[in-house]
């Protein structure tokens, strides 16, 4: 579960911001709220804690928020309903916190417009890494470039909310988090050569995979998974520069 990114230190401050980002923390368990708030503060975030949905709305009205950390199991209102309501009013990034490590919960949360999903128990490093990734993704064009949930390319279908890929005959092709992120990066820049450095940067937006592997290995694995008897995977290697997705992408 723990992602360990070597570049992460407690003194880390989010890039591209002059003031510290403000995190609205919605958590009903008092000690966990305090501990999470402390961990965030120690890493340079401004924290606005809230124990209930009512407190959350009050804080939400009070001032600008950069990110909401939302516990899915709140007394009274469910975090899922809250997420829906927030999404009707704002596109502020949301990270779900849940005690259920279920794939279903993750999918439901992501489909409702949450940006990431954090399973309890989590450590400081993972918490900060996820927040940092979501905030960074918030300022890249990638997030805005994915308005729909599904896309089709070269006969294959991608479901972005469920992070699933389906083959030409409808079978699910399992991908790791890093492979999916890489594929998503290709899909947002079809028919264009993407430099290796840019790919690394784009794919790092989401920390879903803990291992440290080079982009070339990732591309070769993705290529192998997408190749079948009839045709090769639609990736072209541009020697010395990077890679290109040689297929048009239809958003569904």
């Amino acid at each position: 579960m723990l992602s360990c990114s070597p570049s992460l230190t407690p003194s880390f401050l989010p890039q591209s911001s002059t003031t510290a980002p403000t995190v609205l923390l919605v958590e009903d368990d008092p000690p966990l709220r305090t501990l999470t708030a402390r961990a965030l503060q120690e890493n340079g975030y401004v924290v606005r804690p809230a124990a209930t949905a009512a407190e959350m709305w009050a804080t939400f009205e009070a001032g600008p928020i950069d990110l909401i950390l939302l516990d899915i199991m709140l007394p009274g209102t469910s975090g899922i309903d809250l997420c829906k309501m927030i999404r009707q009013r704002s596109s502020v990034p949301i990270i779900f916190i849940s005690a259920r490590a279920s794939e279903t919960d993750r999918v439901v949360g992501l489909e409702l417009g949450a940006d990431d999903y954090l399973a309890k128990p989590f450590g400081t490093r993972e918490l900060i890494a996820r927040i940092r990734a979501v905030l960074r993704r918030g300022v890249t064009e990638e997030r805005r470039a994915v308005p729909s949930n599904r896309a089709e390319f070269d006969g294959l279908t991608v479901d972005f909310a469920r992070r699933q890929l389906f083959s030409r005959d409808g079978a699910m092709i399992p991908l790791t988090g890093a492979e999916f992120d890489l594929l998503a990066s290709f899909l947002s820049h079809p028919l264009r050569v993407i430099a290796r450095e840019r790919l690394i940067e784009l794919s790092r937006a989401r920390i879903g995979d803990s291992s440290d592997r080079s982009i070339d290995v990732l591309v070769s694995r993705l290529r192998r998974k997408l190749t079948d008897d009839e045709r090769p995977a639609p990736f072209i290697t541009v020697r010395g520069v990077g890679y290109m997705l040689n297929a048009s992408v239809n958003r569904i």
Binding site: P31, L35, A39, T104, P121, G123, M172, S211, R224
Partner: protein
């Protein structure tokens, strides 16, 4: 369901027995009626007629004191003659042989006035005919004839004619009883499938007792599944709730300066989280909607193997790049992950293989570890089973790893087999039905 009045199981069976007995009775009676039409060969009838006339005359001539003697004198191997003062007792069940009598009387009409009667000597013996004639003074001559040659195989036909209806009615009775017990059989099937974790509501039908039984079973089934659901939910809730204090612990020790303490506590937390995750996986509490779909198993296995390679383990995959199977992706991934982690834990060199065979999909994970003692190969598939400390395969956790695999594979209608390899180490093999041959509902009968 409207309660239709019903005579009850016992009533039904008694009714069936009564019906068959009555039919048997009616048919047998008709048969005995037909016995009157049995005939014998012409010369046999003439011989009998002559003999009877002689007997009648000779006995009639003698005074009553000499009659028993002359009667016994006139008896031969085939004809037995007795004189009696009164009418002889007639066997209750012996059938009247009218046709035969008419044949005899035709040869010697005098016998008609002597009140000749012929019967089968008994219902069982077939070639024995009994009869009597009345003498002028009202006394009787009783005679029996053996070894009778009947016109048409009286013996065989009588047996057959008695047996055929009996067999037919036994079959009819059996069918009726079977029909009556049919709801019970349905119930039996339902109970079997319930044992496999499937829930079937049985339609209430049949007799009162059976309907009552089915209603009780349906209610019991509801109660059991509710009870299991309650317990599962309670356990899952405990599991989920434990994660909050674990998260607190994790955050608290993250702030600790003591590296040793932090690392060892992190290990403990990871272990506890592992236990919770395995219990939840075993209970199915974390994945409530893992729907079956077509999954590229080749890619799935290769992905897991790649992941382990990236973590520095010696593991290889041999099999096709693509192989489609019908599985629940999350549960099945968990099963393969457990097998691979198990193999990595006990061996240094792990081989994973996948193959599409004519009648199944075979997946195996082999390690070069110590294996499992032969006598424990089945035990380790049970939940919460851990081998003795010295050779334990599950040193950490709750002993659910292989039980989860077993359960997930069972859900896919597959089989899991553990064997010790001849060259050392364990081989775990999963056999799945081919998607081509797999029915949509594999457990349907």
């Amino acid at each position: 369901m409207v309660a239709r009045p019903s005579p009850g199981l016992i009533g039904r069976i008694v009714g069936i027995i009564l019906l068959t007995v009555m039919l048997e009775f009616v048919v047998s009676t008709l048969l005995y009626e037909r016995a009157g039409e049995f005939s014998i060969k012409e010369d046999e009838a003439r011989r009998l007629a002559e003999h009877l006339v002689i007997v009648q005359r000779l006995v009639d001539e003698r005074p009553p004191t000499e009659r028993p003697a002359i009667a016994s004198y006139l008896s031969t191997d085939r004809y037995k003659v007795e004189w009696q003062r009164s009418a002889p007792d007639r066997h209750m069940l012996s059938a009247e042989l009218r046709q035969m009598r008419d044949q005899v009387v035709e040869w010697e009409p005098a016998l008609a006035s002597a009140g000749l009667q012929l019967q089968l000597a008994s219902p069982v013996s077939n070639d024995k005919v009994a009869g009597q004639i009345i003498l002028a003074d009202g006394s009787w001559v009783h005679f029996k004839m053996y070894g009778l040659e009947t016109g048409w195989g009286l013996k065989f036909n009588r047996i057959m004619l008695a047996l055929i209806p009996a067999i037919a009615f036994a079959i009819l009775g059996g069918l009726l009883v079977r029909q009556t017990l049919r709801p019970l059989r349905t119930l039996g099937h339902a109970i079997e499938s319930m044992g496999q974790g499937e829930r079937i509501v049985v339609r209430e039908e049949g007799t009162n007792e059976v309907r009552h039984l089915i209603r009780a079973f349906n209610q019991m089934q509801d109660q059991i599944s509710r009870m299991i659901a309650d317990r599962t939910q309670a356990l899952a809730a405990v599991g989920h709730d434990l994660r909050t204090p674990l998260a607190r612990l994790q955050l608290r020790i993250d702030g600790s300066e003591d590296t040793d303490l932090r690392l060892s506590s992190e290990r403990d937390i990871a272990e506890m989280e592992g236990m919770i995750a395995s219990v939840l996986a075993y209970l199915g509490g974390d994945e409530d909607s893992d729907a079956s779909m077509r999954v590229d198993l080749g890619v799935l296995v290769a992905t897991l193997v790649d992941d382990m390679t990236d973590h520095g383990h010696r593991i290889s995959y041999q099999g096709p790049d693509h192989l489609i199977a019908m599985v629940r992706p999350n549960g099945f991934k968990r099963a393969i992950t457990n097998l691979i982690e198990n193999a990595i834990h006990y061996g240094e060199d792990v081989r994973v293989g996948l193959a599409s065979e004519p009648d199944r999909i075979g997946l195996h994970v082999e390690d070069n570890g110590p294996g499992i003692p032969e006598e424990s190969l089945l035990d380790v598939l049970e939940p919460f089973v851990r081998l003795d400390a010295a050779r334990s395969r599950n040193t950490k956790g709750l002993g659910l790893g292989l039980a989860i695999v077993s359960r997930m594979v069972e859900r896919e209608a597959g089989t899991l087999t553990l064997t010790n390899r001849a060259e050392g180490g364990l081989r775990a093999e999963i056999a799945l039905p081919h998607p081509r041959s797999a029915k949509p509902a594999p457990r349907q009968q």
